[in-house]
Symmetry: C2
DNA sequence: GTCGCCAGTTTTGTGTACAATCTTGCGCAC
DNA sequence: GTGCGCAAGATTGTACACAAAACTGGCGAC
């Protein structure tokens, strides 16, 4: 079947694999992540799975319930607002720094990223497109050369993916890549002011495209909905 | 001796205990944290110790070296700059929010915090004073009611403590509480603009009071210094 | 008929044992 | 005398086994 048996999984690589699966919406919010189940799937012991699950819980991608198990997180409306509030504090300034110190090679990588995203969208690979969209933002933080801020943004992007899974209202599928194109233009001009401003409004647009009225609760799995 | 035997330590509480010890400089940078050693100290197995150590490594307070062990982290000069860069992006705006929504009760708690810090300084309990100083910043984030940003700031504050341990140059011992007093005044007036501005310059002052010339490397333990 | 209690089953939490890896010290060759 | 290599010791990484807790189902009493 798969080449799973070939690779030697470590707790880190398992965590990365799960994070990507969550990011691509292959593991939707509230999915139960049983330790035995995962151990069998990856061919590793529960000990290693536990380490990976704990790592993801520190990034708020997985919720650990004592004696209940691990579940893909379901960010609340409040948490959703907070995540984008944090992003709006970090990313615009980071985009400015990136614009001011970007090399042609880095610019080319960003351009490539956008093209891949387009290709994924054309192939209706929504999950992959969403992941690449996140990679675009992450790449900008990487170019800004601030690894600490980059780590925060990385976490926020992954969490944003969960938020999108829960609260996205189909509307603007294109505006996403549109905004990224605009940012790329600013980067090409090494225009820090424009990049900061564009990132700011891009994030605002993202929040606007979500349905964050507390009326519609996460619509989670059965009992979870009633425990609230 | 101690009441350690009474308490039932969990991985979380052990992590919190270690974090506080690090924050108060009872565990200086580069201290080796052996698993057996810690297990004996807390009366728990290595399994639980490992979970705590991993948690702290996610917050960049301890560095895990494969097959080598866990050590209290030694932030590089570069990392030090990054941490304060991140703080300067997050904390000023957070202070503004806090100022605008602060209640009298919260104000009183902050005042109390400053008094405790004064008392600790008078008693020459430097570690405790440093911890309380961090708590002041953390309390502000809590008042701003943004738990996501609060979590980031909490991590940055703890890491700042390590940075101070490594790079502090004795100079302004008082300016710290001075700045906190000024912030408190702004909070009393619910003056968001002033709070944001004061926090911004407070953080700049902090960086200025560090010796971040790359000349003087961490001055770590023997071999560590040479591996760089 | 409904509510409450109790036991069975499943899943996580913790402790222990073994394997892999790295460090350290000695010995041998050049 | 110096440098390399190998073996012994120590420490972490992983797997396994047991204990604790929570959910599920059924039985019995009111």
């Amino acid at each position: 079947m798969d080449a799973i048996e070939i690779k030697q999984w470590t707790s880190d690589s398992v965590a990365a694999d799960l994070e990507r699966a969550i990011h691509e919406h292959r593991l939707p919010p509230a999915t139960k992540l049983g330790e035995d189940e995962l151990g069998d799937a990856y061919g590793i012991s529960r000990t290693t799975v536990r380490a990976a699950l704990h790592a993801l819980s520190h990034r708020r991608l997985v919720e650990l319930k004592r004696n209940r198990g691990a579940f893909v997180a379901q960010p609340s409306v409040r948490e959703a607002r907070e995540v984008f509030e944090a992003r709006s504090l970090l990313e615009p300034r980071t985009a400015r720094s990136a614009a001011e110190r970007m090399t042609d090679i880095e610019l080319a990588r960003l351009r490539e990223n956008i093209e891949d995203e387009h290709a994924a969208l054309d192939a209706s690979e929504d999950g992959r497109a969403l992941f690449l969209s996140g990679q675009f933002h992450l790449e900008i933080a990487r170019i800004a050369d601030q690894s600490t801020i980059e780590a925060f943004i990385s976490e926020l992007i992954s969490r944003s993916s969960l938020i999108i899974a829960l609260y996205w209202r189909r509307r603007a599928a294109l505006c996403e890549t549109q905004a990224h194109h605009a940012l790329l233009d600013a980067f090409e001009r090494r225009d820090g002011d424009a990049a900061e401003q564009l990132m700011k409004s891009h994030l605002l647009d993202l929040v606007a495209s979500l349905d964050l009225r507390n009326v519609a609760q996460p619509a989670t799995s059965l009992r979870e909905a009633l425990q609230r």
